[in-house]
Amino acid sequence: MQRALFPALFAAGVTFLLTCLVIGVRLQQDGPTLTVVGADAETWGWIGFAVVAVFLFQLFQQPLSAFKQRLPTPDLAALLPNEPLRRRLRPWLIALVVVGLFVWPFLVSRGAVDLATLTLIYVMLGLGLNIVVGFAGLLDLGYVAFYAVGAYTYALLSEYFGLSFWVCLPLAGLLAATFGCLLGFPVLRLRGDYLAIVTLGFGEIIRILLNNWTQVTGGPNGIGGIDKPTLFGLEFNRRAGEGSQTFHEFFGISYDSSHKVIFLYLVAVLLVLFTVYVINRIQRMPIGRAWEALREDEIACRSLGLNPTVIKLSAFTLGASFAGFAGCFFAARQGFISPESFTFIESAIILAIVVLGGMGSQLGVILAAIAMTILPELAREFQEYRMLMFGGVMVLMMLWRPQGLLPMKRPHLELKTS
C-alpha cells in the first residue's frame, strides 16, 4: 500500500493540474471585453471528485486488478447456440430478419423509420470500408471522398441533366469506383502510415475542391432540391412535377409524408441487402482470400506469386463503389448536400465503425453501425456530450477490446468426423 502512495499522489496531482485551469476557470466574453471567472461550485465539485477518484484508484490499483482477474469475462461467442443447431437455424433466421426488415416500418413512427434509414446508410459505408481496411488491411482515412463523389454525382446529374435516381445509382457507383482506382494507383507503393496520410490528404483535397468550385458544386452552400427516388415514375411529393404523377394520386389515397419515408427506407434495405450479398460472395472467391493474404503479410503474398497491384486496386475500387451507392442514396434522402457532410470526422466515424465491429467481420460492422447511429439518438438529452462520449468510447474500446465486438472468423467448412 505504501508503495502505491507516491504514484497515487502523483496521479492525483496530474489530474488536478489538468483540470484546475482549463475547467476550473472560465473565459467569458462580455461584449468587447474578455474576463475570467471561476467556474461554479458544481464544476469544482466534479474536479474534486475526479482528483479523489484517481487517487483512490491508483492507491488500490493492485487489489483492484487482482479482483478484475477473478471476474469472469463474458464470452459473446458462448452465448450463441452450438454449431449444428446454428447451421440448421441460419436460413430461418435470415428469412426472419429479412421479412422483419420489410414489415417493421409500417408498424412504427416516422422518426424511427428515418433513423433506421440513416443507420442503413452507415451500414453500407461500414461494409464498404470493411473491404479496404478489414479484408485488405489498407488503412484508408479518406473514404469519405468516395462518399462525396457518389452524392455529388447524383446531385449534379439530377440538376443539370434531370436523370432519375435509379439511373444515377449505378453511375454514382461507377464514378466512385473510378476515383477509387485513381486513388489506388499512386498509393500502391506506400505502406501503413504513409498510406493513411495520403488517403487523408486526398479526402481533404476533394472536400476543399468541392467547397471552392462554386460555379459547379455550389461551394459551401451546397446543392439543394435534389429529387427523391421514384417508384416506376411515381413521385412521392405533395405536388407532382410537370409530366409525372404523384404516388398518392395514382393510388387515390391522401398524401402522407410517411409514405416517402417508408419508401426511402425500403430502398435502403434493398441496397444494404445487395451489399451484404455481394460482399459475402466475393469474400469466398479467390480475390477475397487474396485480400486477406495481403493484409497478413504483403511480402509473403508477393513471393507466393499474387499480384499486389491487382489486389490493392480491386479492394479500393470495390470499397469505393459501395461508398458511391451510399452517397447517391444519401443525397436523395436528404434532398440537400454540402461539403460539410464530407469532412474528415465522417471518415473517422466510418473507420471507428469498422474497427469497433471487428475488422473484417461483416456482422460486427453491421452491429457497430447500428450502435453508433442509434445510441446518440437514444441519449438525446446528452446531445451536448455526444461527440465527447464518441471520442471517449473510441479510446476506451481500443483499450479494452481492440479486436472489436465480433472478431472476424474466416468462413470455413468443417469436415464432419464421425
Binding site: 467556474a39 490528404g201 456530450y385
Partner: protein
C-alpha cells in the same frame, strides 16, 4: 526596389511567421513518430489547450491588475507549457502506453478518438464561440517606398521569430549535448536495444511527448497573441498543417520538421499572394500528397528499409 520585390518580401515575411509556428508544432509529431512510430493525432488539441491556457492566464493576470507586460507574457508562457506538457504526458500514459507493441491501427484510432474527446472537452468547458483578446503587442516597423509598396514587419512577428529560434536552438542543444538528449536519440534509433542497455525507455518516451507538448504550447501562446481569437476547433487545422510540415521535412527528423514548417508557411503565403487566397489549403494538402508519392521519406528523412 520594385513593387513586386517588396510585395514578395512581405509575403515572405508572412510565410516565415506562420511557418515558424507550424515548425514548432511539427516537432511534436516528428519526435513521437521517430521514437515509437505513431502518429499522434491528438497533438493539435494539445496546441489548442496551450492557447486556451495562455488566454486564461493573460486575462486572469490583467484582471488582477498586474500591469507589466513582460511578466504577464512570461507567466502565460510558463503556465501554458506546464499545463500542455501535463496533457501530453497524461495522454501518453493513459491512452498510448497500454497499446504499445500491438498492431499499428489501434493507436491510430485511439489518437483520433482522443483528439475528438479533447476538442469537445474544451468546448464544453469554455464554450464553442470565438473568444477575442485585445492586441497586447501592436505596432511594428514599415519600410520600403510609400509610393510603391510598404512592407510592414510587426513586433509580434519579430517576437515569433525570436522565440521560435530560441526554442529550436534549445531543443537542438538538448538533443545533441545532454544525456537525456542522447537517450532520446538512442531510442529513436533502436528502441529495443536502448532498453536492453538499461535506459528506462518508458521515461524517455514520456519525455518525448512532454517536449513535443511544450513546444506546441509555445506555438499556442505565440499564435494566440498574434491572432487574438481562439475557439476549440483551431487544433484540428493547425495539427493537420503541422503534420503536413513534418511529413514534408521527413517524419522522424527534427531539422526536417523545422525545414518543412518554414517551407509550408512560405508556400502557402506565396500561393495566396498570386492566386485567390481560398486555395491556400489545397496547396498544403497537394504538397503533402505529392511529397508522399514521389519522396515518401520527405526532404531530410532517411529511406525506410522494410525488413522481412
Amino acid at each position: 526596389m520594385s513593387e513586386t520585390t517588396l510585395y514578395v518580401l512581405q509575403q515572405l515575411i508572412n510565410g516565415l511567421t506562420i511557418g515558424s509556428t507550424y515548425a514548432l508544432i511539427a516537432i511534436g509529431y516528428t519526435m513521437v513518430y521517430g521514437i515509437i512510430g505513431m502518429i499522434n493525432f491528438a497533438h493539435g488539441e494539445v496546441y489548442m489547450i496551450g492557447t486556451y491556457t495562455a488566454f486564461i492566464t493573460i486575462i486572469g493576470l490583467l484582471t488582477m491588475g498586474v500591469g507589466s507586460l513582460p511578466i504577464i507574457l512570461l507567466l502565460a508562457l510558463v503556465t501554458a507549457v506546464i499545463i500542455s506538457s501535463t496533457y501530453g504526458y497524461a495522454i501518453e500514459r493513459v491512452a498510448y502506453r497500454p497499446l504499445r507493441g500491438g498492431p499499428r491501427l489501434i493507436p491510430l484510432i485511439t489518437a483520433i478518438g482522443m483528439s475528438i474527446f479533447l476538442q469537445n472537452y474544451i468546448r464544453l468547458a469554455q464554450g464553442s464561440r470565438d473568444l477575442a483578446m485585445p492586441a497586447l503587442i501592436s505596432g511594428g516597423i514599415q519600410f520600403g517606398d510609400p509610393e510603391v509598396f510598404e512592407v510592414s514587419l510587426s513586433w509580434m512577428q519579430l517576437i515569433i521569430w525570436g522565440v521560435t529560434l530560441v526554442s529550436m536552438t534549445a531543443l537542438a542543444l538538448f538533443i545533441s549535448r545532454s544525456r537525456l538528449g542522447r537517450a532520446c536519440r538512442a531510442c529513436a534509433q533502436d528502441l529495443k536495444m536502448t532498453n536492453l542497455l538499461g535506459i528506462d525507455t518508458n521515461r524517455i518516451i514520456a519525455l518525448t511527448f512532454v517536449i513535443g507538448a511544450a513546444l506546441a504550447a509555445v506555438a499556442g501562446v505565440l499564435l494566440g497573441l498574434y491572432y487574438g481569437t481562439i475557439n476549440p476547433y483551431i487544433g484540428f487545422m493547425a495539427g493537420l498543417k503541422a503534420f503536413t510540415a513534418a511529413v514534408l521535412g521527413g517524419i522522424g527528423s527534427i531539422p526536417g520538421a523545422m525545414l518543412g514548417g518554414l517551407i509550408l508557411g512560405v508556400t502557402e503565403a506565396m500561393t495566396a499572394a498570386f492566386f485567390p487566397s481560398e486555395y491556400k489549403d489545397v496547396v498544403a494538402f497537394s504538397l503533402l500528397v505529392l511529397i508522399l508519392l514521389f519522396r515518401p521519406t520527405g526532404l531530410l528523412g532517411k529511406p525506410d528499409v522494410e525488413k522481412v
